[in-house]
Each structure stands twice: as structure tokens, then as C-alpha cells.
């Protein structure tokens, strides 16, 4: 009788990485919080208005003098200056804040990685010119570029890629402007990514596997994007997770200056900025949006950290 043999299943790099990621408690915590936060932000406002009739824009009809109410049973995060429920507003603002993080980071990732990898791999004079261009953009304060991009591409000048994306989310004029902000933020946050990727490529391009790829006749672009870029994934993920909070912070900062997300839309940044004005009397108006934002960034950072440990074979723990 033949013995029953176990079939050895091969594990892919990604399966392996996923297994390692789940072992990391902090990363798992981060993923759970982010999943919960996403669900809350996407479905929360609907549930809230269904079950309790609380909407982010409802202003109380009785003209009480003091509209900023502290947290209570009905308004678990209190109310804002106009008496609107802060919890509903935080949930709604979360949609914009999370979208800033995702869309702007994708834009910066695409631009930064391609730019840095090409510059580092080609080297020589091209590298020199490309890096000097990065230096120039480093030297120009990003806020100036953001403002100019927002001014130049506003209204009917908005590129169709942005308007169609905004329409996919059911938006029109005002939302187009917010999506334009996402792209503008992405287009000013790729510089560090480009420098980091270039640095990695510089030390990778002289290694044996690149020589092997060259010897087997892989094209230059193939070497860059198929052989070198995947090897920069570790630092790229670490920097991308630093980019997500940083674009979210930049958005918040622009909103704080009154140039970011405009009413009737809100983001965690603009809510916190509104709250700062009343910090001494109604501290919850800053604390709840601020803490929600901090918790989100905290979880995102842990996820990124866990991903790095999971994906980078060099830091693999046996």
C-alpha cells in the first residue's frame, strides 16, 4: 500500500509576506483600526442619519445662544460653533482626509519612483540634470506651487482626468476643486521619494543581478522597472507611509490657512483648524477631530512599518 504523501505547497513571496504581517501585532492593530475607520467613514454618516436622524449639516432650529455643546448622549463628540453634530462631521470629513492620503500618495508614488529610478540608473549627465531639477523644486516652497496649480487649473481648466475621477465619486464643481487639491498635493510630494529611490538605485545598479539581467539582454526600462524597482520596495513603502501622513498633514495645514478644503466640505484638518479658535473654551472641537486624525495616522504608520518588515527579505526573522 502506497504511503500517503503530503503535497508540498510552494508559498509565494506575497503569501509569505502576508503571513509575517499577521504575526506583527502592531501592524494587525493598525490594519484593524484602518478597516474600522474606513467602514465608519463610508457607512457611518448613512447609519447615523437613518437611526438617529443626525446629519453633519443640520443646524438646531431653536436659536440658543450657546451652540457649542459638550459631548453628551445625543452628540457623543459635542457640537461645533453652529450647533452641528461633531461626530457626524468628523465622519464626513474623514472621507476627504482618507482620499487625500490615498490619491495624493499614488500620484507622488508614480511620479517619484519612475523619476528617481530613471535618474539613478541612467546616471552621468542625465542624472545630474534630473537631480538639479529636483533641487530646483525643493528650493521652491511647495505652498507656492500648490496655490499656482489650484489657481491655474480651477474651473473649466481642470484636466479631464481629475473631473472624471471626481464625477466617479458623485461630485461636481466644488468637489472638482478638492480633487484638484489632491493632485496638486501629490505633485509636490514626490521629490523626497525620487531622491530616496535614486539613492537606492545607485547602490543597486552595480550589483550582480543587474549585470546578469544586462547579459541576458533585458531592455533598460525592463531592468529599471522589473529588476531594480522591486528591490527598492522596502524604502519605497517606508517613504510612502511617511507620505500618506505628510500629505494628510499638508492638506490639514492648507485648510488651517484657509486654502485647502472649503465649506460645505470638511476634512479632519479643517475641522481641527476650526476647533483651534475655541481651544480655551470648547476644547473638544479641536480634540476630537485632532485625535481621530492622529489615531488614523498612527495606524497607517504601524501598517507601513509592518509591511516593511514583512516585505523586505533582508530584515526577515526566522
Amino acid at each position: 500500500m502506497a504511503e500517503k504523501t503530503d503535497i508540498v505547497k510552494g508559498t509565494s513571496l506575497w503569501k509569505d509576506a502576508w503571513r509575517r504581517l499577521l504575526k506583527n501585532k502592531l501592524a494587525t492593530f493598525g490594519m484593524c483600526v484602518m478597516a474600522l475607520m474606513t467602514l465608519l467613514v463610508v457607512f457611518g454618516p448613512m447609519v447615523l442619519s437613518w437611526m438617529f436622524g443626525i446629519t453633519p449639516s443640520a443646524v438646531p432650529e431653536d436659536a440658543a445662544l450657546l451652540k457649542s455643546l459638550p459631548p453628551s448622549g445625543t452628540n457623543i463628540m459635542g457640537t461645533d460653533e453652529l450647533g452641528r453634530d461633531l461626530f457626524a462631521r468628523v465622519l464626513q470629513g474623514g472621507r476627504i482626509s482618507l482620499m487625500v492620503g490615498v490619491i495624493s500618495t499614488i500620484v507622488s508614488l508614480v511620479v517619484g519612483v519612475s523619476y528617481g529610478a530613471i535618474s539613478g540608473y541612467l546616471g552621468g549627465r542625465i542624472d545630474n540634470v534630473m537631480m538639479r531639477i529636483v533641487d530646483i523644486f525643493y528650493a521652491i516652497p511647495y505652498i507656492l506651487i500648490v496655490i499656482v496649480l489650484l489657481e491655474v487649473f480651477k474651473g473649466e481648466n481642470t484636466p479631464s482626468i481629475i473631473t472624471s475621477l471626481s464625477e466617479a465619486f458623485g461630485g461636481s464643481g466644488p468637489l472638482n476643486q478638492i480633487f484638484l487639491l489632491f493632485f496638486a498635493l501629490g505633485l509636490v510630494s514626490w521629490l523626497t521619494m525620487a531622491r530616496v529611490v535614486r539613492g537606492q538605485v545607485l547602490s543597486l545598479k552595480n550589483q550582480e543581478f543587474v549585470l546578469a539581467a544586462k547579459a541576458t539582454g533585458v531592455s533598460t526600462l525592463g531592468i529599471i522597472f522589473k529588476h531594480i524597482v522591486p528591490n527598492t520596495l522596502g524604502p519605497v513603502i517606508v517613504y510612502a507611509t511617511l507620505t500618506i501622513p505628510s500629505v494628510m498633514l499638508t492638506e490639514a495645514f492648507l485648510s488651517y490657512l484657509g486654502m485647502g478644503v472649503q465649506a460645505p466640505y470638511a476634512s479632519w484638518g479643517s475641522l481641527a483648524a476650526d476647533g483651534i479658535k475655541n481651544i480655551a473654551i470648547f476644547p473638544w472641537q479641536l480634540i476630537f477631530p485632532g485625535v481621530t486624525m492622529a489615531l488614523t495616522l498612527f495606524s497607517l504608520n504601524f501598517m507601513g512599518d509592518g509591511l516593511r518588515d514583512a516585505l523586505d527579505p533582508q530584515t526577515r526573522k526566522f
Binding site: 491655474v152 547602490s203 484638518g269 504608520n301
Partner: protein, 305 residues
Amino acid sequence: MLQFIFKRLIVIIPMALVVVTVTWGLIRTAPGNFYSTEKKLPPAIEKNIKEKYGLDKPWYVQYGKLMGNIIRLDFGDSLKYEGQSVNEIIWRHLPYSATIGFLAYLVALLIGLTAGIIAALRQNSAFDYSSMALSMLGLSVPNFVLGPILVLIFALWLFWLPPARWGGVSSVVMPVITLAAVYAAYIARLTRAGMLEVLRSDYIRTARAKGLDEKTVLLKHALRGGIIPVVSFTGPALASLLAGTVVVERVFAIPGLGNIFIQSVLNRDEPLILGIVAFLSILVMIFNLIVDISYGYLDPRIRYE
């Protein structure tokens, strides 16, 4: 090496001109200008003003004059703050930003490097986890949330520190902490990641195999490679810190350069914008040059021809 430094220093001047040109182009691309945001002026007065600032000339004449002035480091007068030269404004506000920025970076380096190195050496220890969790917190709390909360606790509740204004050591404490938090967190993470990677590399094994004592291996070999990410981060970080950080300046009412710059952008105050941008760009390029030079010293594998 000297030749490399000299070459890069020479490049700074045309680079600064390019930066100013691009900025100037950006300002002119955006619709509107300084006068379009102000109250409508009578045509005769507007004509006189435009004549005074040379705004009636064609763009290439204006551009040529601008370049000529910038080479002489003369940015002219601010449009908004009449009768004050741009240089005057920059030098008046820079010291505040520079003081706070420099102190914040020192604090951040001290905390970040120490925490990062210890965390890397004791990977997966309690110190590693707690310091990395703390650094995550530092990265995650926006400074315009941290600042006001510090004010609320230490100024409004405990009365330990002044809530705002400039003067004396006590007024510097909260702004520096607010600014340093994020940078310390970045540095700690970068240091830890860099050190972990280096500690696994072959040249560290070789150093240990040669029989060097642990202290030499760590300080002379590992640290040099491990802090390269921190060094690349330092250039731009220091430049942006020295030039001021708007949020902290606003929260603590510090008359720094950052706030002046934002105001100038919002006001479309062209000479002031160009002056500050030129100043900043030179600063960033000098810091980047220092960073590039130090790469060569830190990692012998990186060479400049």
C-alpha cells in the same frame, strides 16, 4: 574633492537664478496680481504705481531687470509693506525662525539618534517597541494640534509657561518642543531602519571577524553607514526649519519668516516672494551640498568623480 565642491558652489548661482525664474513664471502664470486683490485704484494712481515698480514695461524688460537686481542681491521694496526693502524684512524676521528651528533640530537629533540607535541594537526589546510607538505618536499628531494642546495644559491650566509672544527662555520651550516632535520621530525611525540594515551587512561581519571590539564596530563602522538616511533627511529639514515653520509661528505668535512668506504669497507681494524664495533656495542648495559631501565620507562606496 575640492574640485567637486567648487563646481557645485559655482552651480548654486545659476541654480538660484533658475529657481527665481521658475517662481516668477509661476507667479505670473496664476491669474491676478497684487493690485487685483486690493481695492480698485483710480486709473491715474494705478498708472503711477505701475510706472514706479516698472510693471508697465513688457515682461522681458521686467525679467531682465529682475535678474540684474538679483545678481546684486537687491530684491527691491515690498509691495505690501511700503518703503521697506525685502532684504530688511528678511533679516528682521529670520533670527526668530532660525533660533527656534536650530534649537528644534538639535533637540530632535539628540532624541532621535539616541532612541534610534538603542532601538536598533536591542531590536524587539521593550525599549524598541515603546520608543517606536512613541515616535509613531510624534509623527501622527499634527503640530497645530500638539501646539494648542501644550498651550492648554502648560499655559492655561498649569501657568508654567507663557502661551505665546517672544521673550526669554521660557517662551522658546513650547515652540521648540512642538517643532522638534515630528523631526525627532522621523530621525528615530530613519536611524533605527538604517542601523538595522547596516548591522546585517557583510562589512560589519568582517569588522567583527577581524576581532574589533563591539564599541569600535558600532561607532566607527555601523554608525557611519546607518545614519546615511538621517543625513539625507537633514539637508532639506534643516533648511525648512531655519526658514520658519508657519504653524508654530502662528500658534505661538512668533514674528518669524514662515508667516511672512505665507502672507506674501497670499498678498501676491512679488518682490517679497522672490526674495524669500531666492534666499531659501540658496540655503537649501548649500545644505544639500554639505549632505552630498558627507555621503562620500560616510560611505566609501559612494564616490564623486
